[in-house]
């Protein structure tokens, strides 16, 4: 125990280094360059209430209503303090309902002169001494608590629970999430304020996990324990960080937050109003080379003007987030509150002649079964959405383990979930993971099994049964 504490202390003082060896960097074409472009302000913004999972919706406005920036549009029936607020002031032009009559989009015609709702405002020093409850109240009231997730299950943090520690993810190895340094360096004050308010929420450490290309803003962050991770994806996944820095026991609760989101939390507390914009990366092989960089966009802002000029011709898939675990979004999308990246790739239905035996110099593979694995190890691939094969029974064993740097027997975890054996799945450590940790299994699986979905179903089932 003493050793454990002293190690932890050491980590806080001089920073810990972790080298991850298992994994795989998918060399996807279309890495974003470092420039940030300001997009002209949008006429229309949207709020997507279904982004906030676990909210029982009660609508507070109607179409045609005038709303202020930050006014509550919906609240959670089961915990009314939790409100979803307007990303901009103006007139509500559309309330769209989707499956089971859930409100899935609210459109607002922006009025730039509209007032902004006021929340508590703090100086950077005041945040360091702020009351935990006051911070939580403000996070709940603004709905911004949803930026903080809890493990297990990766849901919105529960304000009633004190987390053992908080992990800030300031590196992301999946293609393509924004480079945390690039985003936080744009507003270092807000980032440090965000870190400071996290330190008020836990009695344990706030662990800032950075990659080997982290710049000054990240490495000089104060009042947090900095851990540095190197290695291929998923070295940048929070589960990997937790497992190496401060492994969870079954009863532990850990909170997690992305560094790029922390800037928004910091702004909220420094300004006392909801932030108006955020920086997102736009990348991927489906984006024109000169358009692959960072954009500052109004929160909830319309993506259509950007997409009109930035995309390559052809049928494209837009992904909110990275291509490994992001969700596909329609072409007429608006920026979601939690969205920090837009990755675009081609819908690829191309069929390859005798694909099972061609040398495959133009095929990307983690395996060593294609000529490209030997002759073109450093190539960046213009990948589309093709599955490159049909689903089959799981045949190869131990293959997934090569890309999951966690103490998890992936084959057996997957089998336990498929067999509906939740006790076994928990015993095998499913609660220490998130579906995104198995995204590479989806990618490399020769049997084309969606491992992420299997794990997601397993976690859902465990949650329904209760642990």
């Amino acid at each position: 125990m003493t050793l454990h504490i002293s190690l932890k202390q050491m980590g806080r003082d001089c920073g810990m280094e972790f080298k991850i060896t298992k994994g795989f960097d998918v060399a996807l074409e279309g890495k974003p360059s470092d420039t940030i472009t300001d997009l002209p302000s949008c006429k229309t913004v949207a709020l997507y209430p279904l982004e906030f999972t676990g909210v029982r919706q009660r609508l507070l406005v109607e179409e045609g209503d005038q709303v202020t920036h930050g006014q509550a549009l919906l609240e959670n029936k089961t915990a009314t303090a939790f409100k979803l607020r307007a990303p901009a002031g103006g007139t509500i032009t559309e309330i769209r309902r989707g499956e089971r009559r859930f409100v899935d989009r609210i459109l607002i015609d922006v009025d730039d002169g509209a007032e902004a709702e006021r929340f508590d405002r703090y100086t950077p020093e005041a945040i360091q001494k702020a009351d935990r409850q006051a911070i939580l109240d403000q996070l709940v009231r603004t709905g911004y608590l949803s930026f903080i997730r809890k493990r297990p299950f990766s849901h919105r943090a529960d304000p009633e629970v004190r987390p053992k520690s908080i992990f800030v993810n300031a590196m992301n190895t999946a293609p393509y999430e924004p480079d945390a340094e690039r985003v936080v360096a744009d507003d270092p004050q807000a980032f440090q304020a965000g870190l400071d308010l996290l330190t008020r929420l836990t009695d344990g450490a706030v662990n800032l996990c950075i990659g080997d290309n982290a710049g000054d803003t990240l490495t000089t962050a104060e009042r947090v324990a900095v851990s540095r991770f190197t290695g291929p994806h998923p070295a940048g996944n929070t589960s990997v960080h937790i497992a190496h820095v401060d492994p969870m026991k079954p009863t532990d609760v850990v909170w997690t937050v992305k560094a790029v989101d922390l800037v928004l939390l910091g702004r909220l507390f420094l300004d006392g109003t909801l932030p108006t914009s955020r920086i997102i990366s736009v990348a991927g092989p489906g984006v024109r080379p000169d358009a692959r960089h960072y954009y500052r966009l109004r929160l909830g802002g319309d993506l259509t003007p950007l997409l009109k000029t930035a995309l390559e011709p052809g049928t494209m898939r837009l992904v909110n987030g990275n291509v490994l675990s992001g969700e596909a979004i329609p072409q007429d999308s608006f920026l979601k509150l939690h969205q920090s990246a837009l990755t675009v790739l081609e819908e690829d239905g191309e069929r390859h002649f005798l694909g099972w035996t061609m040398p495959g110099l133009d095929q990307m593979s983690f395996s060593r079964l294609f000529a490209s694995s030997w002759l073109r190890p450093n190539r960046r691939w213009k990948l589309g959405t093709n599955t490159h094969g049909e689903e089959r029974a799981m045949v190869l064993t131990g293959y997934y383990d090569r890309v999951v740097p966690l103490n998890i027997m992936v084959d057996y975890l997957v089998r336990a979930v498929l067999a509906g054996d939740t006790d076994e799945a928990i015993a095998l450590g499913i609660l220490e993971t998130d579906p995104e940790d198995f995204a590479l299994c989806d990618v490399i699986c020769p049997s084309k099994v969606d491992v992420q979905n299997i794990i997601r179903d397993g976690l859902r089932q465990i949650e329904e049964e209760g642990i």
């Binding site: 492994p247 060593r368 599955t387 057996y412 969606d450």
Partner: protein, 389 residues
């Protein structure tokens, strides 16, 4: 190529639901996807996918088997020509004779195995599995060249239907279907699988001097008074010959060299587990060394490294034991599984006078034990996790 694609697209609707040929849709899909990779896009999970698929994995195993097949074809012809006293037969003669002996066996294996695979796929409406490509090729290679074709058909039927399909098809089977087929023939038609069956011949034209016994057969039937050392000294058992495989035996498994080339293909491409291959060898050498010290029978006195090149060990360790479906799945489990195969091979060879060769039975037995081994490993893993908590 474009024409083929257009043709496929034009007739596809006949095989879809409501079409006249819907009942054989899996067959159409198999042919279609054999010619061209499917056009499907990702719907859930990761948006991008690796180019690897099971077809490619299975075909790599086939490529790895080709040296064994080629050598086996030559050897079958060579042994035939030698036995029939045609010493001036050329390389081409051997090959041609080998093709006449071997190809019918392979064709029957694929045709009958394929029939069952397609039938089950159509009835149970699952895609036709590529596993058959490997099973249908492995099975002929572990048969004696004299095997009657009807037995090939019966054997592969048993292996595919009882060994695989009743469990749900490729990926669900407990034991290796090709090995099970052979075991079935071994016990059901023992006369075709034992004794002097290793050289293809026409009735009694065989030259008297040739017995057609395999080195292991010679050892298990050494006349009294002769020792293993004598057999080696007299050239009856020759390491180099056994390594190269210019000896009577099953079609594809006599040449350790050909198996090593296949092993190299499987290991470089990462398709087969190096842990299993290595642990098989370690288990075999360790056990053989032990019986070498303590045993006194002719088989026990055989120097350990001879066991590596004798019988079907190399073929079994490279192609049979490593079958990912029926072998152990955990890394530690693979070590134990392989080691015990090597161990059992020696035990059967040395202790059991009834079977001079034990590779087939050892692997089948360990196939059955593999889930148990994995279970122990997984339980151990879970216990360690609990302790940490």
């Amino acid at each position: 190529m474009k024409h083929i694609l257009t043709l496929h697209d034009r007739i596809r609707h006949h095989f879809k639901k409501g079409g006249r040929l819907h009942s054989i849709e899996p067959l159409f899909d198999a042919i279609d996807h054999f010619a061209f990779t499917p056009a499907t896009c990702t719907h859930t999970g990761a948006h991008i996918r690796d180019a690897i698929d099971i077809k490619r994995v299975m075909i790599t195993v086939i490529y790895a088997l080709i040296p064994c097949f080629l050598f086996g074809t030559w050897n079958a012809g060579y042994q035939y020509n030698m036995a029939h006293g045609i010493p001036d037969a050329t390389f081409v003669d051997h090959i041609l004779r080998g093709i006449i002996i071997v190809m019918p066996v392979i064709i029957v294996s694929y045709a009958v195995g394929g029939f069952w695979e397609v039938l089950f796929a159509c009835v149970r409406r699952h895609p036709i599995n590529e596993g058959l490509l490997v099973s249908g090729f492995l099975f002929p290679l572990i048969l004696p060249p004299t095997i009657p074709l009807w037995q090939v058909a019966v054997g592969i039927t048993f292996g595919i239907v009882i060994g695989k399909e009743i469990f749900g098809g490729t990926g669900m089977n407990v034991v290796n279907p090709a090995l099970l087929s052979r075991a079935f023939l071994f016990f059901a038609y023992a006369k075709s699988m034992t004794g002097n069956v290793w050289i293809a011949s026409h009735g009694d034209q065989i030259v008297d001097a040739v017995t057609g016994a395999t080195p292991l057969g010679i050892l298990s039937a050494l006349p009294a008074g002769t020792t293993t050392a004598d057999a080696i000294a007299s050239g009856q058992i020759d390491f180099m010959q056994m390594f190269l495989g210019v000896i009577p035996g099953s079609i594809g498994e006599t040449s350790t060299l050909a198996c090593l080339i296949g092993a190299a293909v499987l290991l470089i491409t990462g398709v087969a587990s190096w842990r299993i291959m290595l642990s098989c060898v370690i288990g075999l050498l360790a056990t053989a060394s032990l019986v070498n010290i303590f045993g006194s029978s002719p088989m026990a006195q055989l120097p350990p490294y001879y066991h590596l090149v004798a019988g079907g060990f190399a073929f079994g360790a490279v192609f049979m034991a490593t079958d990912p479906v029926s072998s152990a799945a955990t890394n530690i489990g693979k070590w134990i599984y392989g080691f015990l195969i090597g161990f059992l091979v020696i035990i059967v060879r040395v202790v059991n006078a009834g079977f001079p060769e034990g590779v087939m039975l050892s692997i089948l037995f360990m196939n059955l034990m593999a889930p148990l081994i994995d279970n122990v490993v997984v339980e151990h893993h879970i216990r360690r996790r609990r302790k940490r908590a």
